[in-house]
């Protein structure tokens, strides 16, 4: 009896504190603000992710990078990027960004047809830029703050807002919509490896530059997301 009571009180306490954290996170808009009330937990997850990366994920990505010819790697990256461009269309629409909508639609149409399902990125060669939008940015555009910084197990840096946005975004992810489960799962695996390979240069830069990698990554992540929400404008520009 008393145990259930304590458990429910603990649960309520947890929910209430998450709510308070979310609110206090929303109140602070400055990109420079640490916004990391969960730092002790985040650091724990961060170090777990590092271990996982060090022993499993990175070696796989390194192997892939070493074995697969560049031409194939580029094609694979392009296919996933094409899928991301298709998702970007939804966010362009939700933010009523006409120019980006036109660019992303044009990219997907050109690359899916002339580029054989996205293997070739003809649209970039034609100078059509990526809109590079997502649902987290869309929420930000409509005034929802990032909320507390979160490090998600296996996935890495995020924020409460972006983490929540991942779920609905997954519902219209072309890869996760594939009906064959083995094909879908292997493609998701390859996509993760491709993304990891893409991080090699940034990782090398961070290892050179950072005193404390956790803080470095958090600051860079929060600033980058804020900049994406503002489409490259800085608060100072106005």
């Amino acid at each position: 009896m008393s145990r259930t009571f304590t458990a429910s009180r603990v649960r309520f306490g947890a929910i209430a504190s998450v709510g308070v954290l979310a609110l206090s996170g929303c109140a602070s808009f400055r990109a420079a603000a640490p916004g990391d009330p969960l730092e002790p937990v985040n650091r724990g997850v961060y170090s777990f992710n590092n271990t996982f990366d060090h022993y499993l994920f990175k070696p796989i990505a390194k192997g892939y990078d070493a074995v697969v010819p560049n031409l194939v790697k580029t094609g694979v990256s392009n296919v996933f990027q094409n899928a991301a461009d298709a998702q970007s269309v939804v966010s362009d629409l939700l933010q009523l960004k006409g120019a980006k909508l036109g660019d992303d639609l044009g990219r997907v149409v050109i690359n899916t047809t002339l580029g054989f399902g996205g293997i070739f990125d003809h649209a970039s060669a034609l100078g059509i830029e990526r809109g590079n939008e997502d649902l987290g940015q869309t929420l930000g555009y409509w005034g929802i703050g990032a909320g507390p910084y979160l490090v998600i197990p296996f996935l890495g840096p995020s924020s409460l807002r972006d983490a929540i946005a991942r779920y609905p975004e997954g519902l219209y992810d072309p890869i996760s919509r594939l009906s064959s489960v083995p094909v879908r799962n292997s493609l998701m695996g390859v996509r993760a490896v491709d993304a990891r390979v893409g991080l090699f240069p940034a990782e090398a830069l961070m290892n050179n530059a950072a005193l404390d990698r956790y803080t470095f990554l958090r600051s860079a992540f929060l600033q980058r997301r804020q900049s994406l929400v503002l489409d490259g404008k800085r608060p100072k520009d106005e």
């Binding site: 990109a31 649209a123 830069l205 005193l211 980058r224």
Partner: protein, 199 residues
């Protein structure tokens, strides 16, 4: 042949002297000249990327004079700057500069055959703090925006105090890191960490 070289050297010294005497070069020109002088060398002599000493010399001669490292360090320290003694301040500035040069050398190897676009500068008359916007064009259609914040000094010359890569300000990034180290430890610990990082 040799004489021509000497003449050219004198001519360039003379040109350099006049530009610094007038010191009226605009901030956008400073960024463009510095960036062009580095990328020209990278293109004509790609082997330099494998030569740490030569690369360092290139950066120190072409880029460093255009930066105000004391200002950068001061901004990166934020409120903690006032807590540091003058000795700590100069040690921090020196180590921070070394770290940035090293990081920059490493980042250059990713540059390869990309091109740089310089955005037109919007600057009101009498402005002393501007942002020069550039974009590095990559083959994959994703341009990397790089902005340089410059400030006009008392001598009239423009010097950069921050670089913003894809929305990530170098100064803000280091401010968070410096803050963490000082919050958890001390200014001296920060100096020590920078020193060991630079070894």
């Amino acid at each position: 042949m040799k004489r021509n070289k000497i003449v050219a050297m004198f001519a360039s010294v003379a040109i350099f002297a006049t530009t610094s005497a007038f010191a009226q070069t605009g901030p956008d020109e400073i960024v463009k000249t510095a960036a062009t002088s580095v990328t020209t060398v990278l293109k004509s002599d790609p082997a330099i990327l494998g030569n740490a000493a030569k690369l360092k010399e290139l950066i120190e001669s072409k880029l460093l004079p255009n930066f105000n490292f004391t200002r950068m360090t001061q901004l990166a320290m934020g409120r903690n700057w006032a807590k540091a003694s003058p000795e700590q301040q100069s040690a921090l500035t020196k180590e921070f500069q070394t770290l940035l040069v090293r990081t920059y050398s490493g980042a250059l190897s990713n540059f390869k055959n990309n091109t740089i676009d310089y955005k037109p500068l919007r600057m009101a008359a009498g402005e002393t703090d501007v942002t020069v916007k550039t974009v590095i064009n990559q083959a994959n259609g994703q341009g990397i925006p790089i902005d340089y914040s410059l400030e006009k000094g008392a001598d009239g010359s423009w010097k950069a105090y921050d670089i913003i890569v894809a929305g990530v300000s170098l100064v803000t990034n280091y401010r968070d890191e410096f803050n963490t180290v000082i919050r958890d430890q001390s200014v001296d610990a920060l100096v020590k960490q920078l020193q060991s990082k630079n070894k």
